[in-house]
């Protein structure tokens, strides 16, 4: 990470169906050198940030103000890019959101970024899910200027965590120039019970582990769920029919439907970036090949014909290429091919075996699982196979998934033996900031949604 002073920055306003957004200008004077944090080769020092508790405009909104500020701070500190200056060190006090900020008071405690905000309940109460209005401003303390315009979010009380995440994404964007990843969700498989007879339940939660919901009962084994691009559907592999079959489920309706009713085993489904197509593996006899299903025409096209196992396919962000895993050269390796040519080219040559390729949302990297000398790694390489870097190592690390902005990977790590079980972890693209995610039970097969 490098902190530089660059002449221009972008102000991004978000418009979504859930949260109403209205920008409103501040008197902040634009200078020529606002703060810009560039994420380069890993975080050397996190940016010191002050985030006093948002001002409660009414007594009834105090608890909400506390909670929103806490989630916002957890997002920013959790990214590894920010460090919170503790409240007891603050000299300045924010009691009126619209009063001018005394930059000297924040400079004195070496804050470089200040976030202020206010929370008011428009109507009803938190109990009746009344509307809230949350305002915030971001300040570059060193330059003594506003970092972007003040904004406000208006939402139902029940969406308060999303409001906090959206403010976090705004701060992340204003400071780094890149999109954030906080207002997002993770779908994964919860695992319970003995290792030899695990119960597995499709589960969805916010990226930070809040709002856990189970989508299946646990009666059938479920494997490797993936979000549709608009996050309304989950596609996964289920044993509900007695053998593995690809199933789709609308998150709200929760009625699983088999994608392709054939006697053969189908598995490892992945949506295309536009949501119109799905890649799957189909096993006939000893042979597993990759097929593409056009969801509008319901036509299936066979993409690989090699007698080996071809599986774990994934689209490139432009939808024109795929990467997949194949043991056509004996050990499982990674291959890439153009969909209009269908000529696979091997890209993994670093020794050991490779699986589960995942294309970065930026298109520049492919993350993978690697097995080498009895250990498992999560790693990344460029799309042509160059620049391989291993980010983790353990008894069993598997199944990486990218944050919406391509800066962070979540994967699962399984401990050894009878008492061992899988858990979700996150790690920066740089290999730093390895953290375990909080889940109700064992957890595996994560997939990260796009920004909501």
């Amino acid at each position: 990470m490098r902190v530089t002073r660059v002449p221009k920055f972008l102000i991004t306003f978000l418009f979504t169906s859930v949260v109403l957004t209205a920008g409103w200008s501040t008197a902040g004077r634009a200078q020529d050198d606002p703060l810009r944090l560039e994420i380069l080769e890993g975080v050397i020092a996190a940016l010191p940030m002050a985030a006093p508790t948002f001002v409660a405009e009414t007594p009834q909104s105090q608890a909400m103000a506390n909670n929103i500020t806490s989630v916002l701070i957890a997002d920013l500190v959790g990214s590894g890019l920010f460090r919170e200056i503790p409240r007891q060190a603050h000299i300045g006090r924010i009691t009126n959101f619209d009063a001018p900020v005394q930059f000297a008071e924040w400079r004195a405690i070496n804050a470089e970024v200040l976030i202020t905000g206010s929370v008011s309940l428009l109507s009803g109460s938190q109990e009746t899910n009344g509307e809230i209005v949350v305002k915030f401003r971001v300040y570059d303390i060193v330059a003594g200027i506003n970092l972007g315009k003040g904004m406000q979010y208006r939402a139902r009380s029940s969406d308060w965590r999303r409001v906090a995440h959206k403010i976090g994404d705004q701060v992340y964007n204003r400071v780094t120039g890149e999109d954030g990843y906080f207002d997002s969700r993770i779908v994964f498989v919860s695992e319970f019970g003995k290792k030899t007879e695990r119960t597995k339940r499709l589960t969805i939660m916010d990226y930070d582990g809040a709002n856990v919901q189970y989508l299946t009962s646990g009666r059938d084994i479920v494997i490797a769920p993936r979000f549709s691009p608009d996050s309304s559907e989950i596609i996964y592999t289920s044993f509900a029919t007695g053998k593995p079959a690809v199933v789709t489920m609308n998150i709200n309706e929760r009625k699983p439907r088999v994608l392709w009713s054939i006697p053969d085993m189908t598995f490892s489904p992945r949506f295309s970036p536009d949501g119109g197509r799905v890649l799957i593996s189909r096993t006939r006899g000893a042979n597993t090949d990759i097929y593409e299903i056009n969801l509008a025409t319901r036509r299936a096209t066979r993409l690989t014909t090699n007698p080996g196992i071809d599986t774990a396919p994934v689209y490139s962000p432009d939808g024109e290429r795929i990467a997949f895993e194949s043991d056509r050269g004996r050990s499982p390796q990674l291959y890439v091919m153009d969909l209009d040519e269908l000529k696979p080219r091997r890209i993994s040559f670093g020794g050991g075996s490779y699986g589960t390729p995942v294309w970065s949302p930026r298109g520049d990297y492919i993350a993978f699982t690697k097995r080498l000398d009895g250990a498992f790694h999560i790693g990344v390489m460029r799309v042509d196979g160059s620049g391989e870097r291993l980010l983790t190592r353990s008894f069993l690390d598997e199944g990486p998934t990218w944050s919406p902005n391509g800066r962070v990977l979540v994967f699962f790590r399984e401990e050894r033996g009878e008492a061992g079980g899988p858990a979700l972890y996150s790690v920066d693209l740089t290999g730093r900031n390895l953290k375990r995610l909080s889940t109700p039970g064992y957890a595996s097969d994560p997939n990260w949604s796009r920004l909501r």
Binding site: P244, F267, A286, A312, P332, L396
Partner: protein
Amino acid sequence: MRVLVSLLACVVGIAACAPGENATMEADALASGQESGIQAIPFESPEYLVQNIGDRIFFDVDSSALSIEAEETLSEQVNWLRANSGYRVTIEGHADERGTREYNLALGARRAEAVRSFLIQNGVSATRLTTVSYGKERPELPCSFEQCWSQNRRAVTATSQS
């Protein structure tokens, strides 16, 4: 006679039922077994296939090739299946935990298919056979050492009355 002794040993739990241990059994075991009224498993019972032939075979790492021992077991399964034509078979393919989940599903399918092909080639009707892969989802043994992994890389012949 040796087979019968081994059978009884299985029933009363005196010793393991693995092939090759029959010769170590003493004739006394037969006598005592009979005295306590224990019955041998009848050949017609699916339990015979499980206990006396062996309902499973094992594979090397990342392999679906049938070993000599595996083919011997499967040959006996063929004899049983041809003599007991009223049973259908589901062949379950499994993998150990040392591979990625989706690859292991395909690998388990390849192992199940290796057994299915052997049974068909040796005269079992294909219409009686189905396969299912569990990948690494259902290990037989939970430890994370080769002694467990070698038992988890398996194909299991499960019978049901048709």
